[in-house]
C-alpha cells in the first residue's frame, strides 16, 4: 500500500481543478508528491503518479 506523505487530516495543496481531476482518476492526493512551492500538487505531479503505477514518488530530499 502506498505510504501517506502527509499527516492524517492535512489537506494537500492543490488547486480546485487538480483536486477534481485527482478525484476523477481515483487518486488520493494524500499519496501524491507535490513538486510546486511548499509541496503544491500540479497536473504534472498527477501524471507522474499515474505512470509510476500509483507509487508515491519519494521526494528527492
Amino acid at each position: 500500500a502506498p505510504v501517506a506523505m502527509r499527516a492524517p487530516g492535512e489537506k494537500p495543496i492543490a488547486s480546485p481543478a487538480v483536486r477534481q481531476r485527482a478525484w476523477e482518476l481515483g487518486i488520493e492526493l494524500q499519496f501524491v508528491h507535490g513538486s510546486g512551492p511548499a509541496g503544491r500538487i500540479t497536473h504534472e505531479d498527477l501524471d507522474i503518479y499515474l505512470v509510476s503505477g500509483g507509487q508515491p514518488r519519494v521526494a528527492s530530499a
Binding site: 495543496i13 488547486s15 480546485p16 477534481q20 511548499a38 509541496g39
Partner: protein, 473 residues
C-alpha cells in the same frame, strides 16, 4: 405505483439549490422535474431573501452616501421618500429574476410541477396543488432542496407588527421605533435599511456580540460606524415576553443589558435563525434519515443515506447560504448523472451587506485559535488606501491569515465599502493555496480598494511601502 409524470431526476424545491440542480441535470441530458410549492421559482433567496434585501440595502447605502457628499461640497436636501415606489422597485427586481428563471426552465425543458411535494416511497413524490389537485411523480433519482424557514418565538403575539425577515421586506411602513431580535446578519441588514429610512433601532442578542461568526476586529469597525443607528444594543440579553397593545408591541427583556421596564415598539423583527425543512417532506417514507433538528446528512457527493437520493442547500446544514446551495447543487446533479464530482470547497465566504460591508472567507482567527493552528496575521488599514480616502470612506481594513508552517493563506476578512465584492479574490487565493508572494507580487490596479489585498500580503512579508516601516520579524 402509478405515476402522472416520470422522470430521471426529481428536484424538490426551487430555491437557488433546487433550480441550479434542476438546470444542471437538464443540461446533462436527464429528464428533470422541479417541484415547488410557490408559483414563482427562486425560493427564499430570490423572493424573500438575498435579492430583495440587497435591492433595499443598495438604496439605503446610496442615501447614506448622499449625506457624505455634503462634505465634498455637494449638498442635497432631504429626499422625498415614496415607499410604495421603493417597494415597487424591489418587487420589479424580483420579478425580473424570477421571470428569468421561468424562461430558463422552459428553455431547458425542465418540467415545473407546482404544489407541496411529499415522498410516498423511495421512487415517488406526491405533489398537492393549492386547489387540492394531486400529481404523483415517479423518479429514478431525487435531489432534496427544501430549504429552511425562519424560527419563530413562541411567546410573540400574532400581530402584523411582529414580523420575520419576509414581513420586514414587505416594507409596509416606516416605523418610528423598531426592535430587532437577534443580532445576526439578516437582522442587521434589515436594521440598516429601516434606520436609513428614519427608524430608530434597538437590537437584542443573547450572545455577547453582534454578527457572530465574524472576527471581532472586523465587527468593531462596523459597530463604530453604525453606532448612531441604534438607541440600545442589548447584548447577553433575552427577550422574554411580548404583548400587543394599541400603542405598540410591548417587549420585556432579561439579562445584562436589559432595561427594567418593558419597551414599546412599532415593529418587532424576529431574526433568531432559520430551521431546515427536512421534517416536512415525508422523508421517512423514502427511507431518508433526518436529524432531530430537521437537517439531512449527506456525504461529499451530496448523497443521503439512500444512495439515489441527494440533498443540498439549507436543508443539509450550515452555513445556510445561497452560494453554498448552488455549488452543492451542481455536484448533486453531476453525481446523479454518474460523474465523479464531489464537494470539496476549502472555503465558503460570508458577507454582511451592511454599511460598511463585512466579508470573510476561509478560516477566521477565532477558528484558527480553536483549532490550535498557528497563523500569521497581516492587516492593511484603509486609512492608508488612496482610493478609500478619495471615496471618503477609509474606516475599513483588509486582513489576511497565513498558516505559519506552510505560509499558505488560510483565511481573510475585509470590512469596508464593497467588501463583499473584494473578498472574491481572497476566496480564489485560498482555493489555489496561494503564498503571500503570489498575492503580493500580483500587480493590482491603483488606486482601487482591491489593491488592499495585495498590500496586506506585502505586509505579511514586511515589504509594504505604503505603510510606516514594519518591525523586522
Amino acid at each position: 405505483g402509478k405515476a402522472d409524470v416520470e422522470c430521471e431526476v426529481l428536484v424538490l424545491g426551487a430555491g437557488p439549490g433546487g433550480y441550479s440542480a434542476a438546470f444542471r441535470s437538464a443540461d446533462l441530458g436527464m429528464k428533470t422535474v422541479l417541484v415547488e410549492r410557490y408559483a414563482t421559482l427562486g425560493g427564499v433567496c430570490l423572493n424573500v431573501g438575498c435579492i430583495p434585501s440587497k435591492a433595499l440595502l443598495h438604496t439605503a447605502a446610496m442615501m447614506d452616501e448622499v449625506k457624505n457628499l455634503s462634505h465634498h461640497g455637494i449638498k442635497y436636501a432631504a429626499p422625498e421618500v415614496d415607499i410604495d415606489a421603493l417597494r415597487g422597485f424591489k418587487d420589479g427586481v424580483i420579478k425580473k429574476l424570477t421571470g428569468g428563471l421561468a424562461g430558463m426552465a422552459k428553455a431547458r425543458k425542465v418540467e415545473v410541477v407546482t404544489g407541496v411535494g411529499s415522498f410516498l416511497d423511495a421512487h415517488h413524490v406526491e405533489v398537492v396543488a393549492e386547489g387540492g389537485g394531486k400529481k404523483v411523480v415517479k423518479f429514478a433519482k431525487a435531489i432534496i432542496a427544501a430549504g429552511s424557514q425562519a424560527v419563530k418565538l413562541p411567546f410573540m403575539p400574532e400581530d402584523e407588527r411582529v414580523v420575520d425577515s419576509t414581513g420586514a421586506l414587505l416594507l409596509k411602513s416606516i416605523p418610528k421605533r423598531m426592535l430587532v431580535v437577534g443580532g445576526g446578519i439578516i437582522g442587521l441588514e434589515m436594521a440598516t435599511v429601516y434606520s436609513t429610512l428614519g427608524t430608530r433601532i434597538d437590537v437584542v442578542e443573547m450572545l455577547d456580540g453582534l454578527m457572530q461568526g465574524a472576527d471581532r476586529d472586523l465587527v468593531k469597525v462596523w459597530e463604530k460606524v453604525n453606532a448612531p443607528r441604534f438607541d440600545h444594543v442589548m447584548l447577553k440579553t433575552k427577550t422574554v415576553g411580548a404583548k400587543a397593545t394599541k400603542a405598540g408591541i410591548e417587549v420585556s427583556f432579561e439579562g445584562e443589558k436589559a432595561p427594567k421596564e418593558p419597551q414599546l415598539y412599532d415593529l418587532v423583527l424576529v431574526a433568531v435563525g432559520r430551521s431546515p425543512n427536512g421534517k416536512k417532506i415525508g422523508a421517512d417514507k423514502a427511507g431518508v434519515a433526518v436529524t432531530d433538528r430537521g437537517f439531512i446528512d449527506v456525504d461529499k457527493q451530496m448523497r443521503t443515506n439512500v444512495p439515489h437520493i441527494f440533498a443540498i442547500g439549507d436543508v443539509v446544514g450550515q452555513p445556510m447560504l445561497a452560494h453554498k446551495a448552488v455549488h452543492e447543487a451542481h455536484v448533486a446533479a453531476e453525481v446523479a448523472n454518474g460523474q465523479p464530482a464531489f464537494f470539496d470547497a476549502r472555503q465558503i465566504p460570508s458577507v454582511a451587506y451592511t454599511d460598511p460591508e463585512v466579508a470573510w472567507a476561509g478560516k477566521t482567527e477565532e477558528q484558527c485559535k480553536a483549532e490550535g493552528l498557528k497563523i500569521g496575521k497581516a492587516v492593511f488599514p484603509w486609512a492608508a488606501s488612496g482610493r478609500a480616502i478619495a471615496n471618503g470612506r477609509d474606516e475599513g481594513f483588509t486582513k489576511l491569515l497565513f498558516d505559519e508552517a506552510t505560509h499558505r493563506i488560510v483565511g481573510g476578512g475585509i470590512v469596508g465599502t464593497h467588501a463583499g465584492d473584494l473578498i472574491s479574490e481572497v476566496c480564489l487565493a485560498i482555493e489555489m493555496g496561494c503564498e503571500p508572494g503570489d498575492i503580493g507580487k500580483t500587480i493590482h490596479p491603483h488606486p482601487t480598494l482591491g489593491e488592499s489585498i495585495g498590500m496586506a500580503a506585502e505586509v505579511f512579508e514586511g515589504h509594504c511601502t505604503d505603510l510606516p516601516p514594519q518591525k523586522k520579524k
